[in-house]
Subunit: 321 residues, 2 copies
């Protein structure tokens, strides 16, 4: 496991480590959207990544970085989302156990997804205390390695491989826009842009109703994410020291987007590009739609981070109760 | 324009004619769906074709096959669907007019789509008589060439290029499944399988509530499509002499699917593959889901013919009025 901010070599090594088990996801373009928005957009489709999210990159790098003894004891995390699914699949591909601590209140669909990847789920009360105690107990019993979804340099190096692929495929991007939650993905994106394409500015896309990272960078202190209100359910977490430090050094800016724009972007991506993405991904297009002047005639990469959506509740459709 | 059933050379020439202006659409696979259904599925993503449907292949071939004089006078069709959009775009790419006759009752979204591709729309009453009279009048005035959506060998040769691409990419497919409406696509698919992969059996997928082609082939007579009832709004039309004749010679069988299976297939494709397809396309997966024994351990190509869906009315979501 990496104990320092990933170097160029760390990211290259991460990519070599994981490339045979991840999808090299397509970088799609849309003439219609380019015309509509007056810029050149490149959509990196991590919704087509294994488990439907970029999280599989970091999780794969974490699992494949373990030494033989640790690997056999397995991995553990507490999460109910894409990181849990990603870690479960990465562990299964090495035939080692994945222990997932989930709040008993997690949606059925997420429990099923993680169980489907062969993880051993332990339910906790829906409090931080219960979750951490439950995880600590399993670590003590099994010796499994705890893999945090973003407060982990090996995870960040894995997520950085996404931007590395983009920058290999398209030269001289003016901007690269990544969603901001706990900031594992955007941190990795910043590092890859710094190492592989110095003139590409990285922008973080954050929901207006969960703008703790925006405020944290502005005020130079890490704010907790308290009662976030947004449809972007993958972007509710707060920065940690590691991601804060990377963003402070390399991130150009954070632009916040309201949910209305994000929903509109999600629908346009489905309508025009025929692919489904999470609100937490569509927000990157929301940034461009909200700021046409800034991006006019620019080459812009957008990371569509995931596509795991509850298809019974699409946000632009009012459903019957 | 072709006056005979397309030969191998006609299809190869069609492909050479259109290949620079169509997308070579991806052929996707899904480990999850393969495991779920016990077979090897290859999804040809014509939902990612220009205008969001395979129709752009045939329309391009028709427009690009016109001689210089005819080309300048433009093209005309009556349709409110994907063929109209496809013909409009193919004409615009050659800077010639496209005249589209549409019933005044056509959905707003379809009028907008066709208008967006620069076509000149003329509205008719929603009857066959009014539609044909309106078209005849425009032909008389402009000298434009009428391009039927499927009763046209040049169109059929264009649609055949879809299966040609599939069969170039994957060897020894056991089955190739295409939706059946007026049968331009499935006819072209039959021809390409016959010329390029003799051991591949072609299956037509038809809605149970619009099974006129199934009955026509069984009873050796072309039945009209009367009051079809299905969610597959691209598959409401009936066979013509040309398509009937090709299917009689080369089609292995038609399998009918009820809308419940089709809707389920559409949702699974969105959930697992993250792409949206029309019900008229999802029906091909419905065939496999309904007949697991037939397809077990087989290599099966499925043509996902289009992705133009009203996103405000997804069939598995009950909306508020």
């Amino acid at each position: 496991m990496l104990l320092h901010e990933p170097s160029k070599q760390d990211i290259t090594e991460a990519y070599d480590r994981i490339k045979s088990q991840i999808h090299r996801t397509p970088l799609l373009t849309s003439e219609t959207l380019n015309k509509m928005l007056g810029c050149e957009l490149y959509f990196k489709c991590e919704n087509l990544q294994k488990v439907g999210a970029f999280k599989f990159r970091g999780a794969s790098n974490a699992v494949l970085s373990l030494n033989k003894d640790d690997l056999e004891k397995g991995v553990i995390t507490h999460s109910s989302g894409n990181h849990a699914a990603a870690l479960s699949l990465a562990a299964r591909m090495k035939n080692v156990p994945a222990y997932i601590v989930m709040p008993i209140t997690a949606p059925e669909i997420k429990k099923k997804a993680v169980a489907g990847y062969g993880a051993q789920i332990t339910f906790s009360e829906p409090t931080v205390k219960s979750r951490e105690e439950t995880a600590a107990k399993i670590v003590a019993e099994t010796g499994a390695t705890f893999i945090h979804p973003y407060d982990n340099y090996t995870i960040i190096a894995g997520q950085a491989t996404c931007a590395k692929e983009i920058l290999e495929e398209v030269n001289e991007l003016d901007y690269l826009i990544s969603p901001v939650g706990g900031a594992g993905l955007v941190s990795g994106t910043c590092l890859s842009a710094n190492y592989f394409s110095q003139n590409t500015k990285v922008i973080g896309a954050e929901p207006k109703g969960a703008d703790d990272a925006f405020r944290s960078l502005r005020d130079k202190t890490i704010y907790p994410s308290i009662n976030p209100e947004t449809i972007c359910d993958g972007l509710l977490t707060q920065l940690c020291e590691k991601t804060y430090s990377i963003l402070t050094k390399y991130l150009n800016e954070i632009i916040t987007v309201n949910d209305e724009s994000t929903i509109c972007a999600m629908k346009i991506i489905l309508e025009r590009m025929k692919i489904i993405v999470e609100p937490s991904s569509a927000i990157t297009l929301g940034v461009v739609m909200d700021n046409p002047d800034k991006f006019r005639n620019k080459k812009v990469g957008l990371i569509l981070s995931g596509g795991n959506v509850d298809l019974d509740k699409l946000p632009w459709i009012k459903t019957k109760n």
